[in-house]
């Protein structure tokens, strides 16, 4: 069996009293696109900087291709990093930027020139070698920064929120492009981001990180459809959330009493006790909306409210419904076809969803 390209074992980093990274372990198989997704300050940048060698772990081990790199200086590690603000060398032209690492390896000049040309062709920017970095657009700089690392053929490429500085349109475009580049270079990518759509679109596997530890590791579909913790359910994708207390359990399902209604949903985990606090998450697209309550007869959960706001956004348009009781705000996907699409503010709406569409997390009693 081939060792994974990157393995972290019980990685921990303390800053004084605070623990930035708390006992994190994960494997990244060769050639995969692995993302660490988490809110800012969750410790994901610290993990990346420890892998790159700019910070020392307090304890734990980092192995690349099965060999520990803990005592290897950053300039000797077989990993390269695309920095958040790219960190291209402004004092050099594009070709010198890309050739920098090769020059450090004392490669012959003609060979460097050839490799740089090849890299530029691969990223779709042939002939820009003589240009200055400042003359390039944001997306071009992005690709140069990746090419600068890829000419060194690293075992793992680290990407530290490299799309953060780009505008929305370009970011959407670069997401697809990054995925294509990763396939073209056939290199392991470790990508960190706080933007879930970046992680969901590009990754083979995603680790959701919160407060220094991994909440869940899995594929994008896995995280979206089977969240294991309340944090993942709330952080990945959009969700409606109810807080309440458990009233009864019926096999896999659980009833939770909330101010607006009693919700029946799938229970996550087996332990429960009456009166325990619980959070229920339901995706906006799982909720049916109707003017007639009879149309929702088959659903386990039914709620009546008033249209509070209409958020038009093309195919991703949403309706905000304020519940009659408890005045919760519930987000629902706007139906795309049929006569029901002519909703307007103040209309009475009935919402329904099945018990399988909701997931409930019981807070463990302390």
């Amino acid at each position: 069996m081939i060792a994974p390209d990157l393995q972290c074992h019980n990685l921990t980093k303390h800053y004084g009293d605070t623990t930035a990274v708390d006992n994190v372990s994960f494997d990244v198989p060769a050639g995969s696109f692995f993302s660490i997704l988490g809110p800012s300050g969750c410790g994901k940048t610290t993990i990346m900087r420890m892998i790159a060698g700019f910070q020392e772990p307090s304890s734990g081990d980092i192995q690349i291709k099965g060999k520990s790199v803990l005592n290897v200086a950053p300039n000797k590690r077989p990993v390269n990093m695309v920095f958040q603000h790219l960190a291209l060398f402004p004092m050099m032209n594009v070709a010198d930027n890309i050739g920098y690492g090769l020059r450090r390896r004392k490669m012959a000049k003609p060979l460097i020139n050839r490799k740089v040309e090849e890299a530029l062709e691969r990223i779709g920017l042939p002939g820009v070698g003589r240009r200055q970095v400042s003359e390039l657009s944001g997306g071009q700089k992005q690709r140069i920064a990746i090419a600068r690392c890829m000419v060194l053929e690293p075992d793992v490429l680290l990407l530290d929120e490299p799309l953060g500085a780009l505008d929305l349109k370009l970011r959407e475009q670069m997401k697809v492009e990054l995925k294509t580049l990763q396939a073209a270079f056939d290199t392991t990518f470790l990508y960190i981001t706080h933007d879930q759509s970046e992680a969901l679109v590009m990754s083979d596997a995603i680790a959701v990180m919160n407060a220094g530890h991994f909440e869940q590791v899995g594929s994008a579909q896995d995280l979206y459809h089977n969240p294991q913790t309340a944090f993942v359910a709330g952080f990945v994708g959009e969700s409606n959330k109810w807080l309440g207390s458990v009233t009864q359990r019926d096999g896999h399902y659980i009833d939770i009493d909330t101010p607006s209604m009693t919700v029946r949903a799938m229970a996550s985990g087996d332990t429960w006790n009456k009166g325990a606090k619980a959070q229920v998450f339901v995706r906006p697209e799982a909720i049916q909306i109707s003017r007639e309550v009879s149309a929702l007869r088959d659903y386990d959960n039914i709620l009546t409210g008033k249209i509070e706001q209409i958020l038009f956004n093309g195919a991703a348009s949403r309706l905000l419904v304020r519940s009659e009781k408890g005045s919760d705000i519930i987000e629902v996907n706007m139906p795309q076809a049929g006569t029901t699409s002519n909703w307007s503010q103040g209309d009475i709406a009935h919402l329904g969803w099945s018990k399988d569409q909701g997931v409930a997390f019981i807070e463990s009693a302390k």
Partner: protein
């Protein structure tokens, strides 16, 4: 409307124009005219290049100028070599309060006048001074040691007085270098010397050039430090100018020397810029 704007424009321009005309243009025209006059008899003058010829004909003057220039270049180099690590530490390695405190510490000696600071060095270096006494106390010297009045003490004084003018531009250019650019250098396999050579120094070049120009000009035109630390025979070019004006009362020759100093130092700066492949525009921009 247009004339209103013109009045405002001229009012704003006036201080600068006055400063330039009164303090720079007029004195220099006057000195230029003076320098071109040759005294042929009592209160009789003729226009000629005789004063400039005196400079060329008299080896002492040329040698003094050459010595001043070489010493100033050396002082500039030393200031750069000492100032660069200091500036790098302040800009890149110190964080938070330490940074401002260190920067302030560089500044503090300059709250005292140059005269007092130079006296400080004399207290340290003279025969009965602190260093001499310490050497005797430690048994390293059998009698009093005179450390003043030599080229080394001039050099110490020049480097000391110039340090701030090197450190300030260096700190500001190094500050503007993003830390992640240095980290990227390491990440891509660069070693410390290669990162210094290919990334840090090219980035800091405008600061290095402007610092060097200022320090070189200050050293070349310094009068106090060479005289006090080097003694009366320190052979500094400004001393020659002073003695022509004040001691010999030969304003014509003094004026010629002044112009030569201006011209030759400009030539040296220009040559240094050409040699290092830098331009003044890039340094200022």
């Amino acid at each position: 409307m247009l004339s209103h704007r013109n009045i405002g424009f001229y009012l704003l321009l006036a201080p600068l124009a006055l400063w330039l005309i009164l303090l720079i243009v007029i004195p220099h025209i006057n000195l230029a005219m003076l320098s071109l006059q040759e005294r042929v008899g009592v209160r009789q003058y003729e226009t000629s290049f005789a004063n400039y010829r005196t400079f060329i004909d008299e080896p002492l003057y040329i040698m003094t100028f050459a010595r001043t220039a070489v010493m100033s270049i050396l002082a500039t180099t030393l200031t750069l070599l000492i100032g660069f690590p200091v500036a790098y530490y302040i800009a890149k390695m110190a964080v938070g309060r330490a940074k401002s405190v260190l920067f302030l510490l560089c500044l503090v000696p300059f709250w005292v006048s140059e005269l007092v600071r130079t006296f400080g060095w004399m207290i340290l270096l003279r025969e009965t001074g602190v260093v001499s006494s310490f050497l005797q106390w430690a048994g390293l010297a059998s009698g009093p040691v005179e450390l003043l009045y030599n080229d080394a003490s001039i050099m110490v004084g020049l480097v000391y007085t110039s340090m701030l003018f090197m450190v300030v531009p260096l700190v500001s250019t190094l500050d503007s270098l993003d830390n992640s650019v240095i980290e990227a250098g390491y990440d891509l396999g660069g070693s410390t010397p290669s990162i210094l050579r290919e990334i840090v120094i090219p980035h800091a070049m405008p600061g290095i050039v402007s610092g060097c120009i200022v320090v070189f000009m200050l050293s070349l035109g310094n009068y106090l430090t060479p005289i006090m630390l080097g003694g009366k025979d320190s052979l500094w070019f400004t001393e020659l100018i002073y003695s022509q004006f004040i001691v010999r009362f030969n304003w014509e020759l003094g004026a010629a020397f002044g112009f030569l100093l201006l011209f030759l130092s400009s030539v040296i700066v220009w040559a240094a810029l050409r040699l290092s492949g830098q331009t003044l525009e890039r340094t200022m921009g």
